[in-house]
């Protein structure tokens, strides 16, 4: 939804980007504003912590999440086992730590894919126009005709048995996620193409590549980049939803999404921590990304300052 917001903004509210020499100051200005805001500090700390957990889960727990001993089923929290044990007697704190990785990886890698694929295609279409634009626009139309979540459900329903890797989920989300970014960047490029400084650079003999990367890209980036944290948060959320539908990662892989959906019922059966723990980590992450993204967007939006 927030992607759509971006799209609308790109399409309906053409802004006049600042001249190129002020780009750096726009970003540094933004940084200046941002680093003082408590919301930003708090969400950054949480995000950094979550990424650290995802990168090195072993640093945060010495237990093996796959060492499940049935006799410990629903064991209560204790000193070495902060979240107790789940129904299979697996250490829940260590599951929560190891479960961070797939969620964060899905969020980050999918975003990179979307930004790169959508960005490059959008840039090509917007800059060169003509046949390139027509081609890319048609492809965008085709993928855009299939709603994002439904498309992902469809792909994962087909590749359901793909096993315990994150790739099917990442691909499914990326395949139907890139058109929005591509459209946004295409619009930015078309807009920038006609601007004075681009004409000036071209008349000075700048090459296409130089024009694209040195002059237009930095300006077109701003609206796209400010959407990135929101996108990451949204994708982590989408992964959890797909897991809930039974379409996410397969066991024995553990993700926050699957931990939540496997333990939704424990809220009633008297082991609420099994739901609350992964839900808290998931929500802390998605909310932090959303708040950070919102703050960055505010800071980068020249019209609101």
């Amino acid at each position: 939804m927030s992607d759509t917001t971006e799209l609308i903004r790109a399409a309906t509210a053409p802004s006049s980007p600042p001249p190129p020499d002020k780009v750096r100051s726009l970003w540094s200005d933004a940084f200046h504003v941002l680093r003082k805001r408590p919301v930003v500090i708090a969400s950054t700390v949480i995000i950094v912590a979550m990424i650290a957990i995802a990168a090195f889960p072993g640093l945060f727990t010495s237990e093996d999440p796959e060492d499940c001993r049935l006799e410990r089923f629903f064991g209560s929290p204790s000193a070495g086992h902060w979240f107790g044990f789940d129904q299979f007697g697996c250490d829940y704190w260590s599951m929560t730590m190891y479960g961070a990785r797939p969620s964060i990886v899905v969020g980050l890698v999918t975003t990179v894919l979307i930004v790169v694929v959508g960005g490059v295609l959008g840039a090509i279409a917007g800059y060169y126009g003509g046949i390139w634009d027509t081609l890319v626009s048609r492809v965008i139309d085709v993928f855009n005709a299939i709603p994002f979540v439904l498309g992902a459900i469809l792909i994962l329903a087909i590749w359901r048995s793909a096993g315990d890797t994150v790739w099917p989920t990442i691909l499914a989300l990326a395949v139907f996620g890139w058109p929005v970014t591509a459209r946004m960047l295409r619009a930015s490029f078309i807009e920038a193409r006609g601007l004075d400084y681009v004409h000036a650079a071209r008349s000075l003999g700048a090459s296409d590549r130089r024009l694209m990367f040195r002059h237009i890209f930095p300006n077109a980036m701003a609206p796209m980049m400010s959407g990135v944290p929101l996108m990451i948060g949204g994708l982590i959320e989408a992964e959890a939803t797909l897991s809930f539908l039974g379409l996410g990662l397969k066991p024995p892989a553990v993700t926050w999404g699957s931990m939540i959906s496997n333990n939704v019922a424990t809220l009633i059966s008297g082991h609420p921590l099994l739901l609350i723990a992964p839900a808290t980590f998931l929500l802390a992450t998605t909310i932090s990304f959303a708040l950070l993204g919102d703050a960055i967007r505010d800071a980068l939006d020249p019209k609101l300052r």
């Binding site: 917001t5 492809v139 087909i158 359901r160 539908l245 939704v264």
Partner: protein, 335 residues
């Protein structure tokens, strides 16, 4: 104008063709990799004889030899499928019910849930966005923005499951005890959809569904308002001495709504994704529930058929909108 319309039509045909081929290819791969859906018809306790399997395969149109060769795009099959689509045959589910029939009987409820969620979502989003803009950088502004963002970041299935117990069982139970079973309020807070009261019982899931996009729309409204509050025409109006209330309503609000309305139109795709979960968990017999069930019962051809129908609808709809724009909007010249 004529040329534009022809070009737009050709474009639509091409897009439709490509999108249908994409879906066809996904279906084909699914059968090539996952096996003949006819097996699901028989289940684990029956070993079908080849003849039985053949009969069922023919009914599902999964008897084409190219469906056993992974990677083969099955062009021949594609044209057969297109022919069937053209005749209005979108296949059958595992119980031999035509998908068209399944979808048709479910459209009203999906429209209902969309009507509720869009109304709530648009009104709440616009209202909150307006308040936030007018109280810019004040407590209410922060509160609204934080609140909508936090709500928007909660996965929809948690919202729906939470509501099921909080609103349906606990609060609803209290209402039914104190107001009686037949009271409208008691019915609204039932824990699942009831076909006898389609409008009342769809309110709660409708509100749940609207949570998805509230943050986006509130934000857009706020930004849009802020831009307009500073726009020249608003300043002029103020300078002319118009009453603040009139300026707000006639000038600022009206102009701020334009991008918001575009967003509402564009959000149906996203809402459909949320409807799969909401309808599935609230037992609303809608198109989303059809997908939810098909996913749970491994009836992949149904998922594909429903998505195909949505794609066709979506493309026809956007074609219509574009053509209407071309006819109605004097500013658009496409030559």
């Amino acid at each position: 104008m004529g040329r534009y319309i022809i070009r737009r039509l050709l474009q639509a045909v091409l897009t439709l063709f490509l999108a249908l081929f994409l879906l066809h290819y996904l279906t084909t791969l699914s059968i090539q990799i996952n096996g003949n859906p006819a097996y699901a018809f028989f289940g684990a306790q029956i070993t079908p004889t080849p003849a039985q399997l053949q009969t069922v395969s023919e009914l599902y149109h999964t008897d084409h030899p190219c469906l056993t060769q992974p990677g083969n795009p099955c062009f021949g099959n594609f044209f057969d499928t297109m022919k069937r689509y053209a005749e209005g045959d979108f296949g059958k589910d595992l119980r031999f019910r035509p998908v068209t029939e399944l979808v048709a009987e479910r459209v009203p409820n999906t429209l209902r849930i969309f009507a509720v969620s869009t109304t709530v979502w648009a009104l709440a989003g616009i209202g909150l966005g307006m308040v936030a803009a007018m109280r810019r950088e004040k407590f209410m502004d922060y509160f609204i923005r934080l609140g909508t963002i936090v709500f928007g970041a909660v996965p929809i299935f948690l919202v729906v499951l939470g509501l099921k117990y909080v609103a349906g069982v606990w609060f609803g139970g209290w209402l039914r005890e104190n107001l009686g079973e037949e009271n409208a309020l008691s019915i609204i807070f039932l824990p699942s959809f009831d076909d006898q009261h389609p409008w009342l019982t769809i309110l709660v899931p409708g509100v749940a569904l609207s949570v998805i996009g509230a943050a986006g729309i509130a934000r857009l409204m706020r930004t849009s308002m802020l831009e307009n509050l500073r726009a020249d025409f608003v300043r002029t109006a103020k300078a002319k001495g118009l009453k603040p209330g009139r300026v707000m309503l006639a000038h600022t609000l009206r102009n701020s709504l334009i991008p918001v309305i575009t967003l509402i139109g564009l959000s149906f795709g996203g809402a459909l994704g949320g409807a799969v979960i909401t309808e599935g968990l609230w037992n609303v017999r809608g198109v989303g529930q059809l997908v939810f069930n098909a996913v749970r019962q491994n009836d992949t051809p149904i998922v594909i058929a429903v998505v195909t129908m949505l794609v066709i609808t979506f493309l026809l709809f956007s074609l219509l909108v574009d053509l209407l724009y071309a006819v109605l909007d004097p500013r658009i010249r496409y030559e």
